[in-house]
């Protein structure tokens, strides 16, 4: 376990470096919510999910839906590191003609399971995939990553109700609970608390973890595999901008690219 955690920690740092570089190179994008999700996404792509990057449409693959689509950089970095496309392509983020659109486009980039960007929709699509798995008798798992601000969208709760109703035990929703959205702290803009209780009340198996501690992330994802006829929601406490000191807890780093010295400092901290 220690060795696995050490490897994942190093991989997550590599992914964070990619995030900083690609958003800086693009001159725009969303570093804060990409960095807060880096450990969760690393755990999924480098430890938990059944994938074959040379066969991105393998029917039995596990699916990951980035419902908080603005965190595209963390997904792209993980896909590139996993071998879906060359790491060098990360520098094309948000540029004309790039497969790396500002928000994920499933028709452009292999490995992207759903086009997202309009918040609140990804869990519904994940439900559909989980239902399809059942219809086809396949044992793949479906993961969806949501933001805590995103949980203000009504559709999230429509989907939450449906996933429990249809007993989608092959589905895991992870909430990147970094406490911030664009206009400020989630608690001040529009509180979603008590968030774990809400998922529980909707009939989900709920786990609360530190979303930066692989010692908690991995066991939670394992537990989600045997939730006894219920979908699992993992509410992961995270730090927006995690890993870059001047971005951490910073509401202003939601959708702003670092420049010049900031890039150097960020990369030095992530070295």
């Amino acid at each position: 376990m220690e060795k696995i955690v050490a490897e994942l920690t190093e991989k997550a740092r590599e992914i964070r470096r990619h995030i900083v570089r690609m958003v800086a190179e693009a001159g725009s994008g969303h570093p804060g919510g990409s960095l807060s999700a880096a450990d969760i996404v690393t755990a999924l792509y480098f430890n938990q999910m059944r994938l074959d990057p040379v066969r991105p449409d393998w029917p039995d693959r596990d699916r990951f839906v980035l419902s908080k689509g603005h965190a595209a950089p963390v997904l792209y970095a993980a896909l590139a590191e996993r071998g879906y496309f060359p790491v060098a392509e990360l520098s094309t983020l948000r540029k004309l003609g790039s497969r790396l659109q500002g928000h994920p486009d499933m028709r452009k980039l292999p490995g992207v399971e759903m086009s997202t960007g309009s918040l609140g929709q990804g869990l519904s699509a994940a439900n559909g995939m989980a239902l399809a798995a059942r219809l086809d008798g396949r044992d793949y798992r479906v993961y969806a990553l949501l933001g805590d601000g995103e949980c203000q969208e009504g559709q999230v709760w429509e989907a939450a109700m449906a996933a429990a109703h249809y007993a989608l035990e092959n589905l895991t929703a992870i909430v990147d609970f970094n406490g911030l959205q664009i206009d400020g702290p989630v608690s001040e803009v529009m509180s979603t608390e008590p968030l774990p209780d809400k998922w529980r009340a909707f009939g989900w198996h709920v786990l609360e973890i530190d979303g930066h501690d692989f010692g908690q992330i991995l066991p939670a994802l394992e537990k989600a595999r045997s939730a006894g006829g219920r979908p699992t929601a993992i509410v992961a406490r995270t730090v927006k901008g995690k890993g870059v000191s001047f971005m951490e807890h910073g509401v202003d780093w939601h959708g702003v690219a670092p420049k010049g010295d900031q890039v150097a400092q960020a990369l030095a901290e992530l070295a």
Binding site: M106, Q121, S124, A125, N127, L135, E158, A162, Y166
Partner: protein
């Protein structure tokens, strides 16, 4: 003449196609009895999903099913499908070009007594503007069956507009529904009426009334609003020199607009649009509403006479 609502034909077609194709799944939002997806539910309960009164989630779920290889048909009233779930259709279906079929019933004012909240007069406009979307407005039971079959064959998003009211059966069983191909139902060199859906029957009656006065009006039935049969529209304009369109929809954004855009670019001729004149409907019997909102055969006749 035998009358069948297009929603009835839809329910029947789903069962027929579902029998031969195990990938077809059907979703509804607590209106299965009205949209007639209940027929599919009875036959294939494990391939039917009721999502409750939650249209956004229904469309999003369909997107996920399509991404995993299924052919989902989503049904609810047109006003809730195209309106309430518009962003889900845009973001999760049309943009990713997913193989989702939206079959929306109770379109237009022939919904009747339920009133304006339930009478969609804007759904064709909303769906037509979306890239990757095919839009069918079948005029009778036979076209509906053809449209559903065509939707299964098309690999991509399709919107099918269905009605509550019974409509005359216009075609024999040998009719071949070809997406994007307008159907000439009546020849006539004096005028052309281009109609869709419920208004095709009204247009045919209008043509009868005109014939009684010695005016030969052609009736062109456009069951595919998008892609539009540009050639058929231009040919009609060249043949008769003016066009009257007739639709059970706002004159803004639907069939009338599509025809006007086409004529303006390819062959400008005078035209008039029969339809909802930028207003919502209200409660009433369908026949009363058709009268009040100017969607009767007489209204079409008047439009033709204005342009003659």
């Amino acid at each position: 003449m035998q009358k069948i609502a297009t929603r009835e034909a839809y329910g029947k077609a789903l069962v027929e196609l579902g029998t031969g194709n195990p990938d077809i799944v059907v979703l509804d939002a607590d209106l299965a009895k009205s949209t007639r997806t209940i027929e599919f539910k009875k036959r294939f309960p494990h391939r039917f999903f009721d999502l409750g009164v939650a249209e956004a989630n229904m469309v999003g779920t369909a997107a996920g099913l399509a991404a995993a290889g299924k052919i989902p048909f989503c049904s609810t009233f047109a006003v809730f499908a195209a309106g309430r779930a518009f962003d889900q259709i845009r973001q999760s279906v049309a943009y990713p070009r997913l193989n989702v079929k939206i079959a929306a019933s109770h379109a237009g004012i022939t919904v009747g007594e339920d009133g304006a909240s339930h009478q969609s007069v804007e759904d064709v406009a909303l769906m037509r503007v979306l890239p990757n979307m095919t839009v069918f407005v079948p005029a009778d039971a036979v076209e509906t069956a053809g449209a559903v079959r065509a939707a299964v064959d098309i690999d991509g998003p399709v919107y099918i507009r269905l009605g509550r009211a019974g409509v005359p059966v216009l075609h024999g069983d040998d009719f071949k529904f070809v997406p994007g191909q307008a159907v000439t139902l009546r020849q006539g060199l004096d005028a052309t009426i281009i109609a869709s859906g419920f208004m095709v029957g009204q247009a045919l009656q209008a043509a009868d009334l005109l014939a009684a006065e010695g005016i030969e009006a052609g009736v062109l039935n456009i069951h595919t609003i998008k892609p539009l049969d540009v050639q058929a529209v231009v040919d009609a304009a060249q043949r008769t020199g003016f066009i009257v369109t007739a639709e059970e929809h706002s004159i803004i954004g639907g069939l009338g607009s599509a025809v006007a855009e086409t004529l303006a670019e390819h062959y400008p001729v005078p035209m008039l649009r029969v339809g909802l004149q930028d207003v919502f409907g209200e409660s009433g019997r369908p026949d009363e509403l058709l009268q009040k909102y100017g969607l009767t055969p007489d209204d079409i006749v008047n439009a033709v006479q204005k342009l003659l």
